[in-house]
Amino acid sequence: MAFRRFGRSLLYSLPLGITFLDCVGYVARVDGTSMQPALNPVADERDYVFLLRWGIHNNPVERGDIISLISPKDPAQKIIKRVVGMQGDVVSTLGYKHEIVRVPDGHCWVEGDHTGHSLDSNTFGPVAMGLMSARAVAIVWPPERWSLLKNELPRRRRPIQVAKASYYN
């Protein structure tokens, strides 16, 4: 009897849990050093970030937000980067095949904070916004690093020319 009750509650809570993770957000570990110093400032200590999925498709991200996206090279891998340019922006690249790129429609330009040690848009070019899966809002673990992630973009990495707001409408 207890077993049946357990099965029934599992049948109820499993879809509920999956839906919650899909719609609201989840916690993920950050691997690698590509986002230093914002994330993983010490090489062998891993940060856990809360990734917010709520509203990711309705209100677009802004420049400077840290987002998690499916890697354009390998669909099984998720990467975490900072948005540098939105569609229509003109960005100066660091070692991409064109020195200056206008980000095409529906794409964004993402970069890791740790310039030179990050596999980002400077390698694979602008990424489609459809690959974006969540926005990182806070570091939740370890406790001494508990903080909200700020939307900040180093002055030297700002787009050369920002698309007009009317561009989106």
């Binding site: 879809p15 509920l16 839906t19 499916i70 669909p75 064109h98 790129v101 095409p104 489609a128």
Partner: protein, 189 residues
């Protein structure tokens, strides 16, 4: 009296949430229904939300699929079977993240493709900044790792990989299994 009403409401809420979650999981992980529509009309979109239909733009698949066809798609077979050329897929449009497209895979990563190089979208983004004109040439190229080359069946009226280049596998949502509406044309694809 008040207690019965409350407990009824609670049961109702419980069942509503349970069914909403089960529907979400099924559509997100097993498969869903897609309506091929000629234009992204918002009034139609509202109706589709009621009938749990996803919408995709479709004049580009004309000889195979027509407007107002409803397709059954699945998302499971990618775990044991890779996408192959010839599959019809639903993907998020690379040039507009809020729109879905329905195309046929022409080549998967590692296969050869004859194409204009650089792709028009890439050329546009480089050209508007650096003033020198980009010459486009027909070349034989390989589809890069983790990407697929998609084209519509209606070659003349289709914006596909010939415009934006190979698309990453992560954009693909599901594979079309069969057409379920209109019933007279119920066929596997």
């Amino acid at each position: 009296m008040g207690y019965t009403v409350l407990s009824r409401l609670r049961t109702l809420a419980r069942y509503t949430i349970a069914y909403a979650c089960i529907t979400h999981c099924t559509f997100e992980y097993v498969g869903d229904f897609v309506l091929v529509s000629s234009n992204g009309n918002s009034a139609i979109y509202a109706i589709n939300c009621v009938f749990l239909l996803r919408q995709c733009k479709g004049p580009s698949m004309e000889p195979t699929l027509f407007s107002d066809n409803v397709l059954l798609t699945e998302r499971l077979s990618k775990y044991w079977r890779k996408y192959q050329s010839g599959d019809i897929i639903i993907a998020v449009s690379p040039i507009n993240a809020s729109q879905y497209i329905c195309k046929r895979i022409v080549a998967v990563s590692g296969e050869k493709i004859t194409t204009l190089k650089p792709h028009p979208l890439e050329a546009e983004s480089a050209e508007s900044t650096s003033k020198q004109p980009n010459e486009m040439t027909m070349v034989t190229d390989y589809v890069p790792h983790g990407c697929v080359w998609i084209e519509g069946d209606n070659k003349g009226n289709s914006s596909d990989s010939r415009y934006y280049g190979p698309i990453p596998l992560g954009l693909i949502r599901s594979r079309v299994v069969c057409r379920i509406w209109p019933l007279s044309e119920l066929t596997g694809l």
